[in-house]
Amino acid sequence: MEEKVIICKELTKQFGNFYAVDKVSFDVYKGEIFGFLGANGAGKTTAMRILCGLSFPSSGEATVAGFNVYRQQESIKRNIGYMSQKFSLYENLSILENIEFFGGVYDVSRKEIKERSDKLIDDLGLQKEAKKMVGGLPLGWKQKLAFSVAIFHRPKIVFLDEPTGGVDPVTRRQFWDMIYDASASGITIFVTTHYMDEAEYCNRISVMVDGKMEALDTPGNLKKRFSVESMDEVFYQLARGAVRKAD
């Protein structure tokens, strides 16, 4: 039996009469690349906020990396990484300084920071740029760097919120190579995306519609179930039924 790193049971988030997340249940396994799809307004962000320890669910149960989302938010935060579609490193800090800062925030020891950052810069081939300001790097490199920083403290799970928005296809491909590497090293990837070609790269995909999880399976099985050729059509068939409008 594979180890489960995220367990959700009937997870619900209610704002007044509005169910942003409505009795959602799913498990995510260790090292898995888990695609989290849904149209805008389907409740993805709300669910992700709960799993990241930023807000409390209204009812239901969930554990992330073995910690309870009601009582152990602090421990959850220590064990996850996060990267958003917005580029989120400091532009007027050098690559090294950014790494040192985020390493420091996650309480990585100084010695570890030194060792890991040397290796990271070697791997990315950024030796010459290490002391240059991040602001001057091309966008593709920035995103790769941001991902490396997000997993720098060796989290159990990394949440990627539309990480490849605005990036060219070649860089996106390279970015997904990094994701595969991270997954192979045992880090669980929880990723939201609007690119259906990227959805195909995931081990399993979930699709949220109006706060409910309407589908959860491998890309291959989903295509079979809906008897269509591409994930695009799977998503379209599911999302078409949505009542809620994106805000």
Partner: protein, 368 residues
Amino acid sequence: MKQLFVFIRKEFYHVFRDPRTLLIMFGLPVVQIILFGFALTSEVKNTDILISDYSQDVQSTKVTQKIKASSYFIVHEAVIGNREIENTFKKGQIKCVLIFPPGFSNDLFHNGKGQIQIIADGSDPNTAKTIINYLTSIISSYQREEFPAAATPYQITTEPRMLYNEDDNGSLNYIPGVMALILMLVCTALTSVSIVKEKELGTMEILLVSPFKPVMVLIAKAVPYFLLSIVNFSLILLLSVFMLHIEVKGNLLLLFFETAIFILTCLSFGLLISNTTNAQQTALLISMMGMMLPTIIFTGFLFPLENMPWIFQLIANIVPSKWYFIIIKNVMLKGLGLKYVWKETLILIGMTCFLLAIALKNFKIRLQ
């Protein structure tokens, strides 16, 4: 603790690498001090006046010499008619005309009454009043020297003294006000912008998802700006002492203590502003424009608060810089101790706590 240190170091990198921040932080005080210290002075120096002497006798010449000897005036001499006086003012250079009527000495000795007419350009009332005061006092001191214990044995003479400002140094009143203004602008604007910047860039999300506590974000933001503001204040103080020759009469430690409290008030204001907005420009606009005018008007260093309608006097009470201004004036210029300013100090502390409480309460954890 180590996390906090890492964060504070990062903030210093931001400050020292951003020329605009540095300019606001250290350029603004220097410019303001120079502007208020030298340009904005109520003193009248080297003013052009015209003496129109119809009598040209011993006494009128002596008075003229006496006026010439003072450093306040550049004296032009020409005998002009009544109609020409207005033309002279219209040209703008001459601010005052002094007229000795014909037979000035004669009148003085035989009728016991010599008359001099002073006509000033009233379109600038403050300057005009000051000029007239200067001229009157020069003439009356001439009279005392020339005719000691004159005809009337009973004389009342006034002996004015400007306590705490014996040299009539005009920048004296401005400096504490400028200090309040600069600290208010710099602390509030820079703190709010630095937090809102993180929101705008998306780094705030990353910080909130990290184990770093949100309250610590606020502390880490406040510490560098607090330290920089203290440095800033020292700079203003040095400029005032060495460039504007203002003597610090009070306890320096007390001065810094009071300033530290005021800086905290401003920082809390900055934090509060940063909570209510998501764009750097909005934050800057609120803190610069929104703070500048009330500070200038209600602090009382340009316009005396006592002359305002009661409603404005009431409003002035909620402007923190008003209290700071009073404290600094008392401590720096009069040399008073904490015993005399504890009330104002308590008010500032109260305001700080109040602002800080709202700021912390409103600091929302947001992820969008």
